[in-house]
């Protein structure tokens, strides 16, 4: 029986699923319900100094929908907690006492000076919380006041503030990173250099979810005007996966524990983050869309998959995909595949044809009775037909065996491997 037991920078939780710092973790009532539902931990919604901030009284969220109002992405312009500091601290203390086996980490955001950090950290320690997460990620509102992503976008500030925090608390420190930068490795290295015990990522992506074409106001609209919000949900997962992988495979930060965040909606998403190096995961949007009950699917799914794979613990597969993430220049250019269409599964919609004919390589032909077939001589194996085909596994990419000739290039597959650094067309390659 696999165990989902998690230990992240010394913080234990019965499973690796934490609720991210966000509205679901803003108060005792919600967090207790989450723990009763089975969540392994929470990162309490970001605390700041009094007087507490105020939120807009209009819409805080915008969304992007797919068919049947399936929520693909959401953005928010909500700020950090808008409740007094002592109210939050009292509730955190009570919750931790009531649920000692769950992880309770407190997210913090105070001005970029040492004094406020010195002031708030002891108060958090006093609650019995397991750790702190520094919110250097929030891209809206707070960033205009020199906090949140305004810190996260300057590696020097990250290192400096992390250093202050480490100097003023014994609690483990997680630095939450913003994706609104050009290269995620720099802020991660800065956090590491500042002494962070871990990083968590990604925070939300700066976004406008839409424009009202009657009022010409961006969404969400506050009295006819909009401000960019932070984008989250399933749509941001690919961005988050890449950033997690970049940190996991970086020489300087490869051993820095990662808490993976970004569009995690199912056990499978979580497993992918862990395979790319995350030691645990944080969830928000999926819980906001479906409620806390999804934890049942997350834990049972991950456990079943681990059992099927013969994996006994989270550590047993953490980072297993990291070594397979590489630079483009190291990809094997001698690896040749061709699209092939399973005629029994084909429903003859012709989407592969339209895509290939109009936008790719004219490598699919329509035969008698709408029989769609691949012309190997033209197929560059781009995979577009696979991606647009509505039937899973109807079109697959077949690897050419050793001895087979690629009729497009005339080159026979010999089983050797050659990447760009070894390619004759690469003038920079030295043989």
């Amino acid at each position: 029986m696999p165990s989902l037991q998690s230990e992240f920078i010394g913080i234990r939780s019965p499973n690796p699923f934490w609720l991210a710092s966000a509205p679901p973790t803003d108060k005792e009532y919600n967090v207790c319900r989450a723990f009763e539902a089975g969540w392994g931990g929470v990162v309490w919604k970001t605390l700041g100094l009094d007087p507490h901030i105020v939120n807009v009284s209009g819409p805080r969220y915008g969304a992007v929908w797919g068919a049947d109002r399936w929520l693909l992405g959401m953005n928010n312009i909500e700020l950090i907690t808008d409740r007094p500091l002592d109210v939050n601290l009292r509730e955190i203390k009570r919750v931790k006492r009531e649920f000692p086996d769950r992880a309770v980490v407190v997210s913090l955001m105070v001005p970029c000076e040492e004094a406020p950090w010195k002031e708030i950290l002891p108060k958090v320690e006093d609650t019995g919380a397991d750790g702190v997460e520094l919110n250097f990620g929030c891209p809206h509102g707070m960033s205009e006041r020199g906090m949140g992503s305004a810190v996260g976008q300057v590696p020097d500030y990250i290192e400096m503030v992390t250093g202050w925090v480490k100097a003023n608390t014994k609690l483990p420190v997680i630095v939450k990173l913003t994706p609104n930068i050009t290269d995620i490795r720099y802020p991660a290295r800065a956090a590491h250099a500042g002494g962070a015990d871990a990083v968590s990522l990604i925070n939300t992506v700066s976004s406008i979810t839409g424009v009202d074409l009657d009022t010409f106001s961006p969404e969400p609209s506050i009295d006819g005007k909009g401000s960019h919000g932070g984008y989250c949900g399933p749509a941001v997962k690919p961005i988050a996966l890449n950033m997690v992988a970049e940190i996991a495979r970086d020489e300087e930060t490869g051993d820095l524990p990662i808490s993976g965040i970004g569009g995690i909606s199912t056990w499978r998403d979580a497993a992918e983050f862990i395979a790319l190096g995350a030691a645990n995961v944080q969830v928000c949007t999926a819980a906001m869309v479906y409620g806390f009950r999804i934890i049942g699917e997350l834990t049972s799914g991950l456990e079943q998959w681990m059992r099927e794979k013969g994996i006994n613990s989270i550590e047993g597969f953490r980072g297993r995909a990291v070594a397979n993430v590489t630079d483009w220049q190291y990809l094997n250019l001698n690896y040749v595949t061709k699209a092939q269409i399973d005629q029994d599964l084909c429903i003859k919609c012709g989407r592969c044809f339209a895509a290939c004919e109009d936008t790719s390589h004219q490598a699919i032909v329509i035969g008698e009775g709408r029989r769609f077939e691949v012309i190997d001589e033209e197929c560059v194996a781009c995979n577009l037909c696979v991606n647009v085909c509505p039937v899973e596994n109807c079109i697959t990419m077949r690897r050419l065996e050793v001895g087979e000739t690629d009729t497009r290039t005339g080159v026979t597959v010999d089983g050797s491997s050659r990447n760009w650094t070894q390619h004759p067309n690469n003038v920079a390659a030295c043989g």
Partner: protein, 452 residues
Amino acid sequence: MTNSTSTPGVVGGRLPKSEFEKRFSSELRPPLTVQEAAVAADRCYFCHDAPCVTGCPTGIDIPMFIRQISSGMPEAAARTIFDSNILGGSCARVCPTEVLCEQVCVREPSGGGPVEIGRLQRFATDRLMEQPAHPYDRATATGRSIAIVGAGPAGLACAHRLAMKGHEVVILEARRKGGGLNEYGIAPYKVVEDFAAREINWLLGIGGIRLEKDVDPVDAAGLEQLREEFDAVFIGVGLNGVNHFALDGGNLGNVVNAVDFIADIRQSDDLAEIPVGRDVVVIGGGMTAIDAAVQCRLLGGLNVTILYRRSRDEMGASVHEQAIAAALGVNFVTDARLIRILGGGAAESIEYEVTERAGKDRIGSGQIYTLKADLVLSAIGQRLQDAPDRLALKNGRIKVSGNGRTSLSGVWAGGDCVAGGQDITVAAVAQGRDAAEDMHAALSRPAEESGR
């Protein structure tokens, strides 16, 4: 009224009044809500060279109109539909989509049933038809005028296309209302709330079309006169005659043709007054037979049986229509030949013989049964009657070539009255529209080359 479903004989009022209202206001294909339409539309794969378009006799660009619904523009979707089929509203309701566009939908083999093209078409057309303005403009007046005989789907489609091209059109309709089978021949569970009449009003909104009703049928002399008076003539009179039983008892009381029976229901203001038998036998296997049988059940007929000489598979009615009838409790007796109708004065029962296959033919098996029948409805086909005698016919219908050209120059025809048709609304619309295009082309050519 004290009648009930078990009252013997042919009587009205078998149900409480509220029950009639309930049964006859519900539609076979109820409209989609906005959310339902979004979900239904999203199932469309926007196929390349889509099979559904090929499956539509009017060739509506179905993937395009569904995509327009998906993007929140049902009115634009309706334009796409009406560009090909100006009676898209009717067709959305009455088309046997299960054997046309939806039958060939690629979703069918992949599971979950086809995209609901008919209902989506209704969603779009309803929205544009609600708008106060007619969506089409007329071209500059050509000074040409065209007579159309028959205000059924073929004639209306022809008229609208001609009006669009700038011609003046006069439609001559023998009945009290236009619409043809959409008004008189299709059972009310497919078209509610007087849709056929509303659709004609909307269609005439383009202008340039005069609809004259209650006119005398056009005979040979009448046709000659129309050829003299107008630049072209289109004939879309449908099948105005019905086949009758040529057997013992065929003239008894309560032996009624199903087409008239349905027309009476469609034109009735009080369904409680429509008499229906307790034991009804409908003879035939087409859509009219199904419609008639279903209406009898809805009116409170207790035992309603369809008697058909061949097998279920060979019925003209689609499997879907048969299933509707079966679900409403209609019995099917197939592979059975009607021998005679028995009764003194009025029908009381029928006698039939079970048939067996003998090669392509069928022969009697000698097994003869009697079935109670106080109402016998014949739905054994319709035919063209009293066609102007100078028109060449083929298989009893008007012979046409190309886009509806008859044997007489300047005279086109389309719809059920022409040979080789499919006998469905949508095919009639296509023929009317295509004839209009051909007439327009002919009238636009210099005189010596034109069809006249």
